[in-house]
Amino acid sequence: MKEEKSILLIEDDAIDIMAVKRAVKELNISNPLKTVGNGEEALIYLRDVQHDMPGIILLDLNMPRMNGIEFLQIAKNDNSLKRIPVIVLTTSQEQQDKVQSFNFSVAGYMTKPIDYLKFVEIIHTIHLYWTISELPE
């Protein structure tokens, strides 16, 4: 991932947050990791001018107050937010969730594996991909 850009993790589960933090640390990813607990908090964070725009968003779907799909609906219709790549990171394997997510042009859809080691592999792959991929300024 681009050195200076931050990663925004939208996730309500404390242990899943721990898992991402651990994986990022284990993989020596230096980008700052910011965490918010649901879609509403994410919109407040992203619309706060004091915060830099993240280089990538990791989005959980099942969250309180505003879930991932509802967040996508707003963010992907917001000109200042819609180009930030979003990767869905969820437990759900429901076809409907996948279809809705890709309807909002997500950059990827990953299901969280039960096994932590496989989870690390997933974060590693995302990191590799985004290190190579170009992003608009």
């Binding site: 589960d13 242990i15 899943d16 721990m18 651990r22 437990t91 759900s92 429901e94 039960i114 932590y116």
Partner: protein, 531 residues
């Protein structure tokens, strides 16, 4: 030939201009007599001419023959006998009619009537006979006479009786008919009705006769009917003739009722009449209404039940989602936490502690499989793919490749598998579960799995035969039940969902599945799919 007759006939001849002309042609009285006698004798009607006193003056040949036939042996055949007295004093079966004839002739003679006519039965032992007798008067030059003409009218009478009998029979049939029968004339006046009509409308026949049919109809039809008839008379167009229709009738007491009407046009003796068959269908209508009510109620019930089922289905879907997310998330946490414990506290946890953490990790994997199984099972009935033509032979080859069986197990496709219509994923799941079970429970050093298919009457029968561990007959049903396994989970990581899925897929396609097996010798799974 006597003079009386000659005179009489001479006088008769005077009566007609025509005859006057004839007379001049014929010339003399003798000639005239022969002429008229010839005419009279040629007639089939029995004719006699009486004097005003009733004395038989002359008879014709037919009368003479009739007398002979009836056993009169008088050589004069009654000439000079008094016919009036004969009739007046007649005895026997026809004496009443004879007396009536006597009175009739007397009335004609006394100029009370110009003529008299009577038909009467006169049955002989061998046949039924009827006669018609007619008396009429004519005046001669000096005297008045009476001509009696008498003829056998049996044939006409029999035909009449036959007609009357048919009419009576018809009437009887119509009267016992359950439907009302009404005959009206071209102008709507009622000519005839049967008993049922009286009962249906509550009028007596006498009340309806010659009434306009429209009194049996409610307003507004009542007011329009005359126009309908007029138009029909003019144009021949009708909405009712020869069509079965449901209309409304009105009874005498003013109540209305639904009735079925069938009108037809009949030409009777060159006169056009209309016959109507009417049936009170109140009861039928009530039944129909009740049936409708039942049907609507049933529909409501079905709708209610359906929406209940839809709700339950939705709950199940939600339940599956809850399992997929809400159970998996904590499970993932347990898995991650046990992993981090083992990693972060590697130095502090001894070997037996590490082993416990490993066991914990293994159980989280098993739990994950169970949850996956439930999800797969619950998804089966919900999302349906498009039905496409699937080459099962190719599909099974792909499945085998994917399963990657160990080298000591040989899998053979003994026959070419057919191409069928179905959902690719489900059919793959079906074969994958059965073949992977055969691989998983193979306990022989040379494993053999054989797959074949035969066409039956209207379905395909597939067979998957292995020489593996086999199953005891008492478990044949149990293995298809959800979460039932025959081996400890620690030996075989099995969710107990595979065969349940297989059974559900087969049954979704309308097929059947069963197993034949001997412990230690292998199993044969058979299932059918419709062609």
């Amino acid at each position: 030939m006597n003079n009386n007759l000659t005179d009489s006939l001479a006088e008769l001849a005077h009566l007609s201009n025509h005859i006057t002309t004839l007379k001049s042609k014929l010339g003399n009285p003798e000639q005239e007599f022969l002429f008229f006698e010839g005419i009279l004798n040629s007639l089939l009607t029995h004719i006699t001419v009486l004097s005003e006193q009733g004395t038989i003056i002359t008879i014709n040949q037919a009368w003479r023959n009739f007398a002979i036939e009836n056993g009169y042996n008088d050589p004069n055949y009654g000439i000079n006998a008094n016919y009036l007295e004969v009739c007046k004093q007649a005895k026997g079966p026809s004496s009443e009619e004879a007396y009536e004839v006597f009175l009739g002739i007397q009335a004609v003679i006394q100029q009370e009537k110009s003529s008299f006519y009577l038909e009467y039965p006169c049955h002989s032992p061998s046949e039924k006979r009827w006669f018609g007798v007619r008396a009429s008067r004519f005046s001669g030059l000096n005297n008045n006479y009476v001509v009696i003409s008498h003829e056998n009218i049996t044939q006409r009478k029999l035909a009449e009786l036959e007609l009357q009998k048919s009419a009576a029979e018809l009437r009887a049939v119509i009267d016992v008919a359950l439907d009302g029968v009404i005959i009206i004339d071209e102008y709507g006046l009622i000519e005839s009705i049967n008993n049922a009509t009286e009962q249906i409308f509550g009028y007596t026949a006498a009340e309806l006769m010659q009434q306009n049919i429209k009194i049996l109809m409610p307003i507004p039809y009542r007011d329009k009917h005359d126009n309908y008839l007029a138009r029909y008379r003019q144009t021949g167009h009708s909405q009712v003739i020869n069509r079965r229709r449901e209309v409304v009738g009105q009874r005498k007491d003013g109540t209305l009722f639904p009735m079925e009407l069938f009108m037809s046009e009949v030409v009777l003796a060159k006169r056009r009449v209309f016959t109507g068959m009417v049936r009170d269908i109140t009861e039928r209508k009530q039944n129909e209404a009740q049936l409708n009510q039942y049907r609507n109620h049933l529909e409501e019930l079905v709708q209610e039940r359906t929406s209940e089922l839809v709700a339950i289905n939705q709950e199940l879907r939600d339940f599956a989602y809850v399992i997929s997310h809400d159970l998996k998330a904590p499970l993932r946490a347990i898995s991650s936490l046990s992993n981090w414990l083992a990693t972060d506290y590697r130095d502090k946890i001894d070997e037996s502690g590490q082993k416990l953490l490993q066991l914990l990790h293994g159980r989280t994997k098993r739990m994950e499989k169970l949850i996956e199984g439930i999800l797969q099972y619950s998804r089966l009935g919900q999302v349906r793919e498009e039905q496409v033509s699937v080459n099962l032979h190719q599909l099974v080859i792909n499945v085998i490749e994917l399963l990657d069986p160990p080298p000591h197990i040989e899998i053979t496709l003994e026959t070419t598998l057919p191409i069928i219509m179905g959902e690719k994923t489900r059919l793959a799941q079906l074969f994958q579960n059965l073949i992977s079970n055969a691989i998983k429970f193979m306990d022989k050093s040379e494993g053999k799995i054989r797959i074949n298919c035969v066409a039956q009457a209207n379905y395909w029968q597939f067979t998957i035969i292995d020489n593996g561990a086999g199953i005891e007959a008492k478990y044949f049903d149990k293995i298809f039940q959800i979460f039932q396994t025959l081996t400890p989970r620690d030996e075989f990581e099995s969710s107990g969902i595979g065969l349940t899925l297989v059974k559900k897929i087969v049954e979704m396609y309308g097929g059947q599945i069963w197993v034949e097996s001997k412990l230690g010798q292998g199993s044969t799974f058979c299932f059918t799919l419709p062609q």
